[in-house]
Amino acid sequence: MEKLRERAAAILADGTVSLVIGYEEGTKRPRPLFCHDGESARKLIFDSRCFHNLAVYLTKKELVGNGRFAVTATISTLRSIMQLYVENQLSEDKLLILTVDLSGTLREFVTFDEISAYVEQFELKRGEREQEILTRIEGMTREERWKFWQEEMSHCFKCYACRSACPLCYCTKCVVEVNRPQWINPWPAPVANMEWHINRAMHMVGRCTACGACGDACPVGIPIDLITRKMMEDMAPEFGYIPGLPVKKGNALSTWKLDDREQFIR
């Protein structure tokens, strides 16, 4: 961790980067920290309690500016960064990634391939919570699932925290703000909520890296991260990719195979 601080301070000092995004101690738990000088870099921490997906800030021009900047990345953040590379939202020459691996040594990445090589070793597994809820849902009949989600959705008041927290929801104009036509009504209402979350999942096909940020962000605790999570788990084998490991060319929906399997087309 010390090394991390030193390195951060150093690159800020010698002007390699103009900004380092990382974590600092918060009142309850670590919170994001934006260091513009070596001074603030001393506050940097990086441990297992740091779970905010900082990748969400990287696409915000007003925050990162036009210069080169650095970010301290967790595995989830790394996954997101890879996907953002794929979607041309980040350029390798603008970004320097710092992380501390399990052995406690400081590692740095720049390119997609470097990250990929590192992230590969970490398999994306269901946590206890996910396991518990998903097995419950998977055990339900269709009607029960419908009831389950209706109940959950009835709490959603469309604060769009899920959207803001998601590193991959970087559109300047979200579909709910498109009004010609108004595909999905922005206000909270049963069908509108349903449509919003189905739409989110569809937009995440082949993109979501299951960082769980959306779920953490939801103020009323709807397990929305599991919709995308489940989708991702189901699609991975279908389209032959590794969950949470983005591929450089083409996402699952914008590409296809001659022998894509399906049993429902008559």
Partner: protein
């Protein structure tokens, strides 16, 4: 509706211009008869069909949906239907996860030469949806504000 009178489902068909639309034309020229419940919306290609349209259809009271285009390898645009196929694979699994009744969406490949297949597809789908009954689950929650806006627009 009282139980004894038979239920006439509302079904929208999203079809591509080159295969299924032409196929349905052939059904006509060959004077094959089918149920009036299905109404066709014409698209250049199945690749164009937005999943949101399917959602909106249910919200607007459709009891069933048909999505049909060119057989694999026959796509006028070479690969639109392959893209569509992937989209539907994903969409279907998400709908299922959310508890939406995926049996109400019938996907199919109907070529420009399969006039009779189109007639059968329509009749079978109508029968299936009739068996499933109206999709009140979804319509119940379809929200009133939206309706108002719709009427306002129309």
């Amino acid at each position: 509706m009282s139980s004894e009178e038979i239920f006439e489902p509302k079904i929208v068909a999203f079809v591509c211009n080159w295969c299924t639309y032409a196929g349905a034309d052939l059904t006509g020229t060959s004077r094959l008869k089918y149920a009036t419940n299905v109404k066709i919306v014409r698209f250049p290609c199945t690749g164009r069909i937005d999943f949101l349209l399917l959602l909106k259809s249910f919200a607007q009271g459709a009891d069933g949906i048909i999505v049909s285009g060119c057989h694999p390898n026959d796509c006028h645009y070479t690969s639109g239907n392959f893209h569509a196929r992937r989209r539907w694979i994903a969409f279907r699994s998400i709908l299922d996860m959310m508890g939406v009744d995926v049996r109400r969406v019938q996907y199919s490949w109907v070529s420009a030469a399969e006039g009779s297949k189109w007639a059968d597809l329509v009749n079978n789908t109508v029968a299936d949806i009739r068996a499933l009954g109206p999709y009140t689950d979804y319509q119940k929650v379809a929200d009133y504000l939206e309706k108002e806006v719709q009427d306002g627009e129309a």
